[in-house]
Symmetry: C2
């Protein structure tokens, strides 16, 4: 019988694990499998609603010769705020690749997408960030602007954070949240202050125009651009991708159609041959950052293999830990937990 | 929070309802909405597995201006029998069209697909079967060969059944099952015995060649061909579709690509203009059977709107009846049932 986990149980399970041991390696392994052509990811299914406006994406796929496959339902209904609901809604189904049986239903309300996205940022930083980080700069003040930093500390010490925000309210809220997590945090309205003081920069906005110009980027800087995941969104001047000593993207095939790589190709700033796929780079240390002077850029648009990996990880962790939530939906209502 | 229903709870809910009042009208309304262009059904998503061989289909869609939408995951792993499992596995998700929230997760293991398919046969019979049925003929001995008859009795008296089976074992098992349900049941290995004694015939096999020839079909016979749902499967001689006074198909667009309509078009036996879509026919009494002499044929390949309608119906019925299964996955494990 399928195990069912609601958000509370998923959060409880995540509390009981060590991201550096339990999350980052599985996300890394997912990217490597993807770049080796071992992942089957059909085109995304889509439903568009008019009244109220909303959309639902169905992302699904599997790693060959693995035990499970995943189907993620991710909806965005922007009118939800007026109902006191999150605009993003969703769940992930984990099913057996051997029998087709549903194994676990993760009613994560979109949270695991946030986790796997933050984990991808940390995986990138592990291989491309300078050894010593002076200060981390963040563009944005939303969930990813927070979680990218939370996960970054699993691969690098984070001495200080500075966030570029759009208004005082955003800045105050961001600072309060991050200081609550123990980060020394500053905010600014000036992109130059970020560019001139940080050697690791994360862009995490829904911007449709560049937030940073090529002339602002100092030697030795690493930038992870994770906000743009469509053909319209853009956070970096394409010239930044031209001057980068190393350019890595999570998916070459997606990068040709969306995100910073797409914009830079369109602008003629880079050749198709320049970007290296993240999974290829992870597997080859010669493709990682080689000196503290290099400028490196990572463009992340999000890949279904991350969803497959995070769903498997949470399901397995819930089975391992007595405290980890989830329940088997057997004949009785309160069936015993796995592994208890 | 989403309501979760396992197969046992779904079966319990189905026991508490009256199919002629609760199922047939909603399936009928679904077909009408579909034929009126009010249903959005994107292309089916598909995952193919090699080891062991299996496939998973993701069917999804919605009726415009309705409250919910549905996503059905249906898998077939033929090696499951060796593991003591059903080859067909699956579940249906019911989600809000207004917020994207999951509303109900129906772990039906494929059973609701059987119900909605049997219900479609009954809907067809209501409008196309002769008024007085002498004897019902069935080709096949599987789940649909049984359920088509069970649902048929909600629209017509069924004085006697005769099933064409492939061997003694199938015949004995079919007869035992149907007699257990109170049907006077005979079996045969001779198609002519079915054709010559029955004025309502249901074909429910995975055959790849015609089981009935045009010359065998008597005046006044209605045939529902529901076994073929691919471009390869076929149960009827295309000439039967030519000689039919009325030809109805559940989906014209699917019928152009699969099932008996596809085979008859390919053979040049019918023109594209001949078949009438079921939902159009339901809505117009002038398109129903007009006399006891007519030969009528229905070709069913299965439409996603049936899944949407059956999922909504079960969810609503479970909410109405105190005994109806299902539970809300709230903070507590045994949260109160809806409507209790």
């Amino acid at each position: 019988m399928a195990k069912i986990m609601n958000l509370e149980e998923i959060l409880e399970t995540l509390k009981g694990i060590d991201p550096s041991r339990d999350i980052l390696p599985v996300i890394e392994a997912g990217f490597v499998a993807y770049s080796k052509g071992r992942v089957v990811v059909p085109p995304v299914g889509e439903l568009i609603f008019d009244d109220p406006p909303g959309e639902t994406h169905i992302k699904y796929g599997y790693i060959r010769n693995d035990d499970h496959f995943a189907i993620k339902i991710a909806s965005s209904f922007r009118g939800n705020a007026g109902r006191g609901l999150n605009a993003c809604q969703g769940l992930i189904l984990l099913l057996s690749q051997k029998t087709g049986e549903p194994v676990c239903i993760l009613l994560d309300e979109g949270h695991l997408t946030q986790v796997r996205t933050a984990a991808a940022g940390a995986v990138v930083a592990r291989h491309f960030a300078p050894r010593n980080i002076r200060r981390v700069g963040v563009f944005g003040a939303g969930t990813q602007a927070r979680m990218q930093i939370e996960y970054l500390r699993y691969v690098r010490p984070v001495p200080e954070v500075i966030a570029w925000c759009q208004n005082q309210e955003e800045a105050a809220s961001y600072r309060a949240h991050m200081e609550g997590l123990g980060f020394r945090t500053a905010t600014t309205f000036d992109p130059e202050e970020v560019a001139s003081t940080c050697n690791l920069i994360v862009t995490a906005t829904p911007s449709h125009r560049p937030l940073l110009a090529a002339g602002q980027i100092r030697k030795g800087t690493h930038i992870t651009a994770m906000g743009s995941d469509t053909a319209e969104k853009q956070e970096l001047d394409p010239e930044i991708l031209r001057l980068a000593d190393r350019l890595v993207v999570d998916s070459l095939s997606q990068g040709r159609l969306r995100g910073e790589m797409f914009k830079a190709l369109q602008a003629g700033a880079i050749a198709e041959a320049k970007p290296v796929e993240l999974g290829t780079a992870i597997a080859d240390p010669g493709l990682h950052r080689q000196s503290d002077d290099e400028i490196t850029v990572a463009d992340l648009t999000g890949v279904a293999v991350q969803d497959i990996q995070i769903a498997k990880m949470v399901w397995e962790a819930a089975g391992r830990t007595a405290g980890g939530g989830g329940r088997n939906l057997g004949n009785g209502c309160c069936a015993p937990k796995r592994g208890v």
